[in-house]
């Protein structure tokens, strides 16, 4: 993988502030499972990130005013078993609850609205849909 294990330089009193260039951390905005207050945004973050990291990440990269960040680690279940009766571990992940400052609110939008899927004329999608319809017609049994 591209970025090898990051070794932070040792901090001693008087050292310059640690700065990270090209961070290799990715946040996933998730829809909250439980009802959250309107100014709270829920993220899944890598385990190595801290609250301060999340705050500076959002403020500097996304220009989002962040008030308070609370984190917790979600244990991924090790209970399920596969066909060989071996336990299958679901990965652990860290969840961050970010409260926005300046009275901003956020609601998770509906990203999969119902859309009228009429493909444009002469396009690949139209040809594919036509082909699929023909196939289904062929597979249908005689009445």
């Amino acid at each position: 993988m591209p970025v090898t294990r990051i070794f932070y330089p040792l901090y001693q009193l008087g050292n310059p502030q640690l700065r990270l260039f090209r961070p290799n951390w990715f946040l996933t905005l998730v829809r909250p499972g439980k009802e959250q207050p309107p100014d709270t945004v829920q993220f899944r973050i890598p385990m190595e990130m801290t609250k301060c990291d999340v705050k500076s990440y959002l403020e500097k990269i996304y220009n989002v005013p962040v008030g308070v960040v609370r984190t917790r680690i979600q244990f991924g279940s090790n209970k399920k078993r596969n066909h060989l009766n071996q336990r299958v571990k679901q990965p652990d992940y860290k969840v961050a609850y970010v409260q926005l400052a300046q009275g901003q609110t956020f609601t998770f939008p509906d990203i999969f609205p119902e859309k009228d899927r009429t493909p444009t004329e002469g396009s690949m999608e139209e040809m594919q849909e036509k082909f699929m319809e023909d196939e289904k017609q062929r597979q249908k049994l005689d009445p």
Partner: protein, 267 residues
């Protein structure tokens, strides 16, 4: 230059396609100023990188083409992007689509032509794109629907990987020229308990090694009683090697028997 490519793209494809084609380029378009595109009317984003903390947001972009005069910058704002959390989601036109078109990933060859500032900005563009795709993936899993065009995620990952390789290449070259050191992190060849010789990379400590109790417990030598085990390992390795070579030879001999006019493959 790639600006010509962008202009070509803008010219030959319809307005709607410009947005959906070449998402990678489109993302870069948002931070470019010189090209006459639909999106340039919207804010040009300036990412809050640590590099730009001191400079004002009105610093002219580095890649301004020779033709960017005041007349062509009519759509240019240098204000900071105010999109905030919206950047975790795709453009609203693409919500609910089954397929979202995207361009090819960046190749290392293309990235090597870019300046360091460009690469730095591109890293953040790719980072935001990847965040957006990850949120989309998670939401699609939640709603039990298919994620539109999951290959975008892999494209972005590859682009980031190549970007990182290019940057490390440049860093090693600079380090070699300035200091003569090949590796950024000091290390040494050391032997471990099992007789293997490996590259031990040094770790930074606040105290010298002779005061470090945990470090002193590490053994960088092989005790005497491990010698028989090493010998057996070596024998096994040699046996394996000769067996492989012999099997190759036998395979070739059999093939030669069946097909006498066969050319021996160069290996």
């Amino acid at each position: 230059m790639w600006q010509d490519a962008l202009l070509n793209m803008a010219a030959c494809s319809s307005a709607g396609r410009v947005l959906s084609l070449c998402r990678r380029f489109q993302n870069v378009l948002r931070i470019s100023s010189a090209t006459n595109i639909q999106r340039s009317a919207v804010n040009v984003t300036k990412y809050h990188c640590q590099l730009y903390r001191e400079t004002s947001p009105l610093v002219s972009p580095f890649w301004s083409s020779p033709t960017s005069t005041a007349s062509q910058c009519r759509g240019l704002h240098t204000t900071i992007s105010r999109r905030g959390l919206e950047e975790f989601f795709d453009l609203p036109e693409n919500w609910g689509e089954a397929n979202v078109k995207s361009g090819a990933p960046w190749t290392a060859k293309q990235l090597r032509t870019k300046s360091n500032e460009d690469l730095h900005k591109l890293w953040y563009v790719l980072l935001k794109e990847k965040n957006m795709l990850l949120t989309l993936e998670q939401e699609s899993k939640r709603q039990r629907l298919q994620m539109p065009s999951p290959e975008r995620l892999r494209k972005v990952e590859r682009s980031m990987f190549r970007l990182e390789t290019v940057v490390t290449e440049r860093e090693t070259a600079l380090r070699l020229l300035q200091t003569g050191q090949e590796k950024g992190r000091p290390g040494a060849w050391r032997r471990n308990l099992f007789g293997y010789i490996y590259w031990y990379r040094f770790k930074e400590y606040a105290i010298p090694w002779y005061m470090n109790k945990r470090y002193k417990r590490k053994t960088f030598y092989t005790p005497h009683f491990v010698q028989p085990h090493m010998r057996l390992r070596l024998e096994k390795h040699l046996r394996d090697k000769t067996r492989k070579a012999n099997s190759e030879k036998q395979k070739l001999a059999k093939l030669k028997e069946k097909f006498p006019l066969m050319k021996v493959p160069a290996s």
